[in-house]
Symmetry: C2
Subunit: 558 residues, 2 copies
């Protein structure tokens, strides 16, 4: 990679957005060619390598990741036979069109419709309002010719909620939008300059004025003509769900099948948070060694800024957080792999735990990485404000993770809801997942006692772990109790009660996520056999790669 | 302003850095023309208006602010007569060249030299190393033809430390660098795209190889020839300091005269922090009202996101911080005005208090604004990542304030040193400034008791103020005691002792700064007569302008 001129980011800091988009394509082509020459498939390994090398998003990344993954997990075998070869190295480039201008986190608010037309055996696609416009899909602006469209399925006036559809958007001949398709680039963002995030409106409405000569004179009437987009019935992804020729809806075996792509993306974001934080901290540590400023005895060289206690306090903190996020990501990936493996047998039992854990960890680790990257940038002084340091682009390319795929308060509350329900299970004596064993061991009415008696005790991982467990359990039990109280005493519904104490529940979910990080950290450094591998990637950054035994104990089981 | 097409920022989000630089000039010309037509002088009021309107930095801003201010405060009457008219609307455009590639916060480490040459009655200017290069001056890259150069003054081998010199850099004929001057643009940064921050190297060295035919054969020797930049002796700014024709250095009456521009800039940064935070919070509040997402009863419109408790917790917090920063800035400006007024009579007695207060408040308020702007951006979800929201550029244009003019840990420690010394004064029973009266009232050996006994008490400003005073005083006394202990028991010098406990001292300085904010807030909302003025400036932002009576009590005097 070092030998390919396009595979560096140095020049991109001088480019405009459009230039970076074009350069992104150049980079992808060089990268793909290199991989092909070396016989490496365009899989996860290749993406990891690309990230490690410090390349930003390619315009085609959403096609290669979310589009292909969602297609593979939600299309039937028959559909995959028909489409997949055209999507891999073929003419089809897709994007993932879920978020709308007015609808992000709250999926059920989605407005785009797919109405089954029994006469023609088609779905009619329509964006009924401006807020129904698809907004943000990466690659939609200039790149993609197809998409996986998420739209509410209507059959005979009945609303079946959001489903996924395989939709062609642009001509494969001249790349022009197909009739009834209006799309384009949404414009410049804070980061991801090479990604052409786009908007999409399906179906146009025209108003026609008709004049009718009636016995009592000339009257005018307005008639609406809708030029909607139509796709064959077979374009609904139907690995789990189906609409028959007669318009019968066949239910999925498990209502949550739609969440697979979501938990996969969130798991990837936890891992990505380490990438951001690990690189930022590496740059800042090295800068702190090289940079000298003030504080020396006369005649001596100035002091390395890493020798200042204020610098150490900040740099070492984020250095340890980076490792904690790395380790937590490894354990989360194990949980995801377990889930993914079992779905092949239609076993979704791990999903609630995975969904709750990945939601809270996505929120926590993306925030920790954003905070760390910004502080580490600041602790390089003015030089961290300069793009040549690499830090501004590391941060800006990370920031979409913080708000994307669910804003963090909403994600924390998803975790909190799950935790509140697990408290119920603990009280009933029902089984709870191993990551929540500490809740079963918690005694709500005995406050417990911090086991440290001397300052040195604070260096013992067990003492710290106990304190983090206590904090998380106390906050979760208090939150659960508050919710129960509001339900019983004020007669609130579960969701209203959750909302009423939501700031406290967010705190509880953060405490649980932090415990997961602390636990992962302690588990790896004290128990597992680690293989540390130090790799030198380029002039600026070192990278550590950890390959620990996959048999290591799950970190939260106590 | 609304009628002038160039005076909006909407189009700039699509521009490259070079295009934004050019557009910045267009904007400045339109803006200046408008002001001239309206008979408004290019003073502080005009700049405030420009900021309020949401325009970014102009390429000429460093000339109009730091360069002209420093010139006015450090040049003699005679020098001003000679130069000022050429600097205002004339051919001279200057910049402020202090920071070097290797030397920011630690002024004494500066490497650029100005050596007095008694033979020609000139100063010889030289950048002896690469780290001595001036780095960051705004406008230096492409705009300025002059600068105020900060360089160590040498006379007869004696080092008199940094002094300011008026130096021409580029030809007034063809804008080409003068002989011996090497300069250019330092390249792209995270924000301020229209500012051409630059580098500057003064003087070139050549090595010549000479062959000498001597009786014992041919020998080679290397001789260094230096093509340094020379300026007349009269180009050293000498309102306070002078070098005579005979090379005699005449000392300034007060050693700290150099800090005037610095405290002025820091005071401006506190005010600027409100601009950033005030605008960000305005955008986020309005978005939170307009945006609806989830959480509704069936059949009802979705809930306004401002009705979520988690949104309120964040938005209202930063809303109140914005006001606190605004009020603190007003009081700091009063203190600065008092100082500036007295310097005319060579009275610098307010400087230590102003220096310490402005350092800590610069650090605290720039951090609060950066944190607030980033969180408010996130709480607009994905839309806050889009440049059209205005939030990314508000944040990026604010970030240089966080690290510029002294990185924040260093500034907190400047405040802490002052506070530690004031504790000594309290112990000796000496007079202390009114902003520190609470230290005199603190009783180190009686822990005190929080006066709130019921939850409602927490709503009383007096109760909160007492708690914030107690916290700040306790931390400052503990820090001072730790420093004294290290000096007495371990024999450390003052500076070494400060460094040893620096993280705790930063905490103490933050507590003092936070008290200043809390105090200013309570003072204004409860005592002063305020004139609230609501102004509608453009489609996106409302702006409040407070004109409170300048006779209001200083907030920290108790």
């Amino acid at each position: 990679m070092a030998k390919v001129p396009e595979l560096n980011r140095e020049d991109t800091v001088f480019m405009s957005g459009v230039e970076q988009y074009k350069y992104g394509w150049k980079q992808f082509i060089s990268f793909f060619k290199l991989a092909t020459d070396l016989g490496i498939e365009a899989t996860g390994d290749l993406f990891a390598l690309k990230k490690e090398w410090g390349l930003s998003m390619f315009p085609i990344d959403v096609h290669l990741s979310m589009f292909l993954n969602a297609l593979r997990s939600q299309a039937s075998e028959e559909q995959l036979d028909k489409w997949l070869s055209k999507c891999i190295g073929g003419p089809i480039i897709g994007t993932y069109a879920q978020t709308e201008l007015g609808h992000g986190t709250f999926l059920r608010g989605m407005e785009t419709t797919a109405t089954f037309d029994g006469v023609t055996d088609e779905f009619i696609l329509h964006s009924p309002t401006d807020t129904a416009m698809k907004w943000w899909p990466g690659g939609l602006g200039r790149t993609a010719n197809h998409c996986l469209l998420y739209a509410r399925l209507f059959i005979d006036g009945l609303d079946y909620g959001p489903h996924a559809f395989f939709v062609q958007l642009r001509s494969l001949e001249d790349h022009k939008p197909l009739p009834g398709v209006e799309l384009g680039d949404i414009g410049p963002k804070m980061g991801w300059p090479a990604i052409d995030n786009g908007y999409l409106k399906l179906g146009r409405s025209f108003l026609f004025l008709f004049y009718d000569l009636l016995p009592w004179g000339l009257t005018a009437r307005v008639q609406r003509y809708a030029d909607h987009v139509r796709i064959p019935r077979g374009n609904m992804l139907n690995k789990f769900v189906k609409v028959t020729r007669e318009g019968k809806y066949e239910k999925p075996p498990h209502a949550k099948f739609n969440y697979t792509t979501m938990v996969m993306v969130r798991t990837g974001m936890v891992e990505g948070s380490f990438e951001t934080l690990g690189k930022s901290v590496t740059i800042c540590v090295r800068y702190s060694v090289v940079r000298r400023q003030g504080g020396s005895d006369p005649g001596e060289p100035e002091k390395q800024i890493l020798d200042y206690k204020t610098q150490q306090q900040m740099v070492f903190h984020h250095l340890s957080v980076a490792y904690a996020v790395l380790f937590a990501g490894k354990f989360l990936r194990q949980l995801f792999n377990t889930f993914a493996h079992r779905t092949d047998d239609q076993d979704f039992s791990v999903l609630p735990e995975l969904h709750a854990t990945s939601a809270g960890l996505k929120a926590l680790t993306t925030e920790l990485a954003a905070e760390g990257a910004e502080y580490l940038r600041r602790y390089c002084g003015g030089h961290g404000f300069h793009k040549f340091s690499g830090l501004p682009d590391l941060l800006n390319d990370h920031l979409p993770q913080v708000t994307g795929e669910g804003v963090n308060p909403v994600l924390y509350l998803q975790t909190a809801r799950y935790l509140v329900r697990q408290v119920e299970n603990v009280r009933k004596g029902a089984a709870i997942p191993s990551t929540l064993a500490y809740l079963a061991n918690y005694k709500p009415n005995s406050p417990g006692r911090f086991s440290a008696t001397r300052p040195e005790d604070l260096l013992k991982p067990g003492v710290l772990l106990e304190a983090f467990r206590h904090r998380a359990a106390r906050l979760i039990f208090e939150g659960a109790e508050a919710v129960t109280d509001l339900q019983k005493k004020r007669g609130l519904a579960f969701e209203k009660a959750i909302d009423e104490v939501s700031p406290d529940l967010v705190t509880a979910a953060k405490a649980h996520g932090t415990l997961f990080l602390v636990n992962s950290f302690i588990e790896i450094i004290s128990v597992s056999f680690c293989l540390f591998e130090l790799r030198y990637t380029d002039g600026l950054t070192f990278f550590f790669s950890f390959n620990f035994l996959s048999s290591s104990k799950h970190p939260m089981s106590s």
